[in-house]
């Protein structure tokens, strides 16, 4: 879609492109991808939305995410509305009729403000997805570099371990660990995580999704290790650490960035699934997954309670996937061919990544 539009526009002056570094060039390519940019803006809006949770809670809704209002009554115009009816039915969306209180209604028979929980739940979901993305990426880079550089038995052990981990029924095992640890927590050496800690889903996701990133990185390291610049560095006396982190790692940067974005999207889905099934974020804390789980019980009478967090997950994952695709197109040197074919704009000379 964007390529058609761009093709109609005049090409940028060649003079302005000369001497661009690879990252700046990638940025230019990314910015030309309007779909990716639009979804990046959407992602930032979602992040801003969840970061604004305390402001909304304190100044608009006047309640916290876990505060119950079972017996509270709202005065809307001249009308009195119960947050939860005697039959246990929670109030529906009030939008701005009650000055922003219960904007999306109450979440359950406990009468908690759905909008506040949506915002705080989004913080939790995104935090888990982001932190586990960082851990996954770190582990994947280290393992991929070790396996690809040393090869031999080191590669065999790491690669097979990743294969085994990747072949496991990740969700089922995640549920089992999450459920078991919800009671007594997890103890790993001196480290003890209390049951209910958000570090438990973070740990589960990080471990099980490491192969998702580590396997392609290992493959790329295996390929890069054959290149002249690596042989040259070794010939100049560079040690393994310098070769791995000084020579190979910078060349992996584009892959890492792309996978990091995509990994966050996957982590968000995994966290939602774990929480939905009671093995992730523990009540009373909310995440989008737990909110769908609570909403499911009220699906017939208050479908929005499950639909809204579901839509938030969908938009976030979609935006991250589109941004990830855009980054891949922008950072992958091979995308130059596609780029030219799509836009008709020639890559500036000497600007290949």
């Amino acid at each position: 879609m964007n390529s058609t539009n761009r093709a109609a526009e005049p090409a940028e002056p060649e003079s302005g492109s000369a001497g661009y570094g690879p990252w700046r060039l990638a940025l230019r390519r990314f910015l030309r991808n309007r779909v990716a940019v639009a979804f990046l803006v959407l992602f930032f809006l979602i992040v801003a939305f969840v970061l604004a949770a305390p402001l909304w809670a304190d100044h608009v809704a006047h309640t916290g995410p876990n505060e119950t209002h079972t017996l509270q009554k709202l005065h809307v115009g001249g009308e009195v509305r119960e947050v939860v009816t005697p039959e246990g039915k929670p109030i529906g969306p009030q939008w701005f009729e009650a000055d922003g209180r219960f904007f999306l209604g109450a979440d359950s028979r406990l009468g908690r403000d759905e909008m506040v929980r949506l915002m705080y739940g989004g913080r939790t979901s995104l935090l888990i997805a982001f932190v586990s993305g960082l851990i996954t990426t770190f582990l994947a880079v280290v393992l991929g570099l070790l396996a690809g550089y040393y090869r031999g038995w080191v590669d065999a052990v790491i690669a097979r371990t990743l294969d085994v981990l990747w072949s496991l029924p990740v969700l089922l095992i995640g549920i089992a660990i999450g459920t078991a640890s919800a009671l007594g927590g997890i103890g790993i050496g001196p480290l003890h995580l209390e049951g209910g800690s958000i570090w438990i889903p973070i740990l589960i996701i990080s471990i099980f999704y490491t192969p998702y990133v580590a396997r392609p990185i290992r493959g790329e390291v295996l390929s890069l290790a054959e290149k002249e610049f690596v042989e040259s560095a070794i010939a100049q006396g560079a040690g393994p650490l310098r070769v791995m982190f000084g020579e190979l790692l910078p060349n992996l940067a584009s892959t890492i960035v792309v996978f990091f974005a995509l990994n966050i999207a996957n982590n968000l889905l995994f966290e939602s699934a774990l929480s939905f099934l009671g093995a992730g974020v523990q009540p009373p804390n909310s995440s989008w997954g737990t909110m769908i789980s609570i909403g499911e019980e009220l699906l017939t009478t208050q479908p929005l309670l499950a639909i809204i967090p579901g839509v938030m997950i969908m938009l976030t994952v979609l935006s991250l996937n589109m941004v990830g695709d855009g980054l891949r197109d922008a950072l992958d040197p091979r995308s130059k061919v596609r780029f030219e074919a799509k836009t008709g704009i020639a890559e500036p000379e000497g600007a290949a990544v």
Partner: protein, 553 residues
């Protein structure tokens, strides 16, 4: 019994209860004695439970799920009449030929086993199987064992697990069973009717047999059990051949068996009942669907069933901060039964005392009208040093939400709380194990085991009921004076004087506030259109009797 646990008993009793039960039940619950005989004979019933019972073992199970699952599988020496209302509260002979002869000032019970009884594996039932079952009860540390410690030598056996119980003498030839008690016990006939002491064949392993339940004597027998997933019952092959002839006053039922599946999503359960995939759901519809189901199906497929139950939050009196009565009283002021009525979609009626309405000895009082300010003041006075607490509840809706509500109340009081929500299958097993860490406070319920107020004090609040495992006294309260009063009242037959005694006991306990009670519940029977609702007999203790189900013609 906890969780909907409970209760056994047999419904029963008294005129007040009779009236209540009669008024519920969708009108003419005419079906006394089950199997109206108008429906189709045979067929396999598809049943759904929201959780698997705590145990599928007669000596161990202490939940309503377990008792409803096994109520017509394991028959004790005495049992309860398969009828609704006051009639269903009547204790009748089960495997015993007749009601016990009570002598020696209420301390000796003599019964005779009916001749010709057989287990589902074809082995004959012997009188000596009864003491074997009682000993097994103690050996597996059953939560029901405190009911039987008054048998001579039972207390010592509970400690040593060796040497037998000298207070039970049997004669396999004559079928005589003689039970000597240390002191009279007014509720002992009721307790002989509990499944805890249903005979099992000698040699039955002294371990949890949930995956492979022991042979049984009732009209149905469990042929397959998959803990966590479901079980199947079929006709006991020796029921028609032997036992039904020996026990003609017990119903045989019309259905061939039942396949029970655990479906943890109550929405799905309701949909499946409406579509005829299942014939009966053991638990009530979810709060969200309750009103809708009631409006659409009441009288044809749905019936409200009152219970004799108390829902409460327990506080561990042996640990700070709840070792201070002021802290516990503060919690009682803070918990608002009116809010919890809404959490349960109107399926509970608020109360703030141990004894529920309908139980002899019940007299309404309200020591702790909801007052958050007063609660905070009391807590300030108490100034507990430890404010870090763990709150426990189970996954079954709306108990999980009640736990969340309670956790929120405690947080509002200033406690630093952690909420633990456990699978309903093993919730009571976990919180009943004293080695579980952080047992500070949490949710529980109690349904009558039998229609006697002692059942709400002795198993739940007496010091002798504090057990290392399968504990039912979650508050771990043991007040010497109140323990003595429970024992003394339990020795006597129930009369107006004793009822007054229980009234006082209720108040005394609530002054100590080991619990924050919040309501008494109604349950329901919801069946598919293939089932004749009129035929279904519901016991607040055993749930719906399997033998009472009939398919429509």
């Amino acid at each position: 019994m906890k969780k909907v646990r409970a209760a056994i008993a047999v419904l029963a009793f008294a005129a007040v209860t009779a009236l209540a039960l009669a008024s519920c039940g969708g009108g003419g619950d005419s079906t006394s004695g089950g199997g109206g005989g108008e429906g189709k004979q045979g067929g396999t019933l598809n049943i759904t439970y929201a959780s698997f019972p705590d145990y599928m073992d007669p000596q161990l199970s202490y939940t309503q799920e377990g008792w409803s699952a096994m109520g017509e599988v394991y028959i004790p020496l005495l049992t309860y009449k398969r009828a609704e209302g006051a009639e269903g509260a009547e204790v009748i002979p089960g495997l015993a030929k007749e009601m016990p002869k009570i002598s020696n000032g209420g301390k000796t019970y003599t019964l005779f086993l009916r001749p010709g009884l057989k287990y589902s594996n074809g082995k004959p039932v012997k009188a000596s199987d009864f003491p074997y079952a009682v000993e097994r009860l103690f050996k597996v540390n059953s939560g029901g064992s405190p009911f039987y410690t008054s048998i001579v030598g039972a207390e010592k056996f509970a400690e040593t697990k060796q040497g037998g119980i000298p207070g039970i003498k049997t004669n396999d030839k004559t079928g005589e069973i003689q039970i000597e008690l240390e002191k009279p016990r007014g509720t002992f006939s009721n307790e002989l009717g509990l499944m805890f002491v249903a005979p099992v064949p000698q040699g039955t392993p002294n371990e949890d047999l949930s995956a492979s339940p022991p042979p049984s004597t009732g009209p149905y027998t469990i042929t397959k059990s998959q803990p966590g997933r479901g079980w199947e019952v079929e006709r006991n092959p020796y029921w028609d051949k032997a036992n039904s002839k020996a026990m003609p006053d017990l119903e045989s039922g019309t259905i061939d068996g039942a396949k029970v599946t655990v479906v943890r999503n109550p929405q799905t359960q309701v949909n499946d009942i409406e579509q005829g995939k299942y014939d009966y759901m053991e638990n009530p519809p979810p709060a969200d669907r309750y009103t809708d189901v009631k409006e659409k199906f009441e009288g044809t497929q749905f019936r409200i069933e009152p219970t004799i139950s108390t829902y409460y939050f327990w506080m561990n009196t042996k640990k700070a901060p709840f070792d201070d009565p002021k802290v516990r009283q503060a919690v009682n002021y803070a918990v608002d039964p009116a809010a919890l009525e809404r959490v349960y979609s109107g399926q509970i009626k608020g109360t703030q005392q141990i004894l529920p309405p309908g139980m002899p000895g019940y007299e309404k009082f309200e020591l702790y009208p909801h007052d958050m300010e007063k609660a905070k003041e009391l807590l300030k006075e108490a100034h507990p040093s430890d404010m870090d607490i763990t709150v426990w509840t189970d996954t079954e809706s709306p108990n999980n939400e009640a736990g969340e509500y309670y956790e929120g109340v405690l947080k509002e009081l200033g406690f630093d709380t952690k909420l633990k929500i456990l699978n309903a299958d093993n919730y009571f097993t976990v919180i009943g194990n004293q080695s579980t860490p952080d047992l500070d406070t949490g949710w529980s319920d109690w349904y009558q085991d039998y229609p006697h107020p002692n059942d709400f004090f002795q198993p739940l609040l007496s010091g002798e009921s504090i057990l290392q495992t399968n504990n039912g006294n979650f508050a771990n309260i043991s007040d010497p004076q109140l323990n003595k009063e429970i024992t003394e009242l339990g020795e006597e037959q129930l009369g107006s004087e004793q009822e007054d005694g229980y009234k006082e006991l209720d108040k005394k306990y609530m002054e100590l506030a080991p619990w924050a009670p919040y309501g008494t519940r109604t349950l329901s029977t919801f069946v598919s259109s293939a089932i004749n609702l009129e035929s279904v007999i519901y016991s607040p203790t055993f749930g719906a009797y399997l033998s009472s189900f009939e398919f429509n013609e």
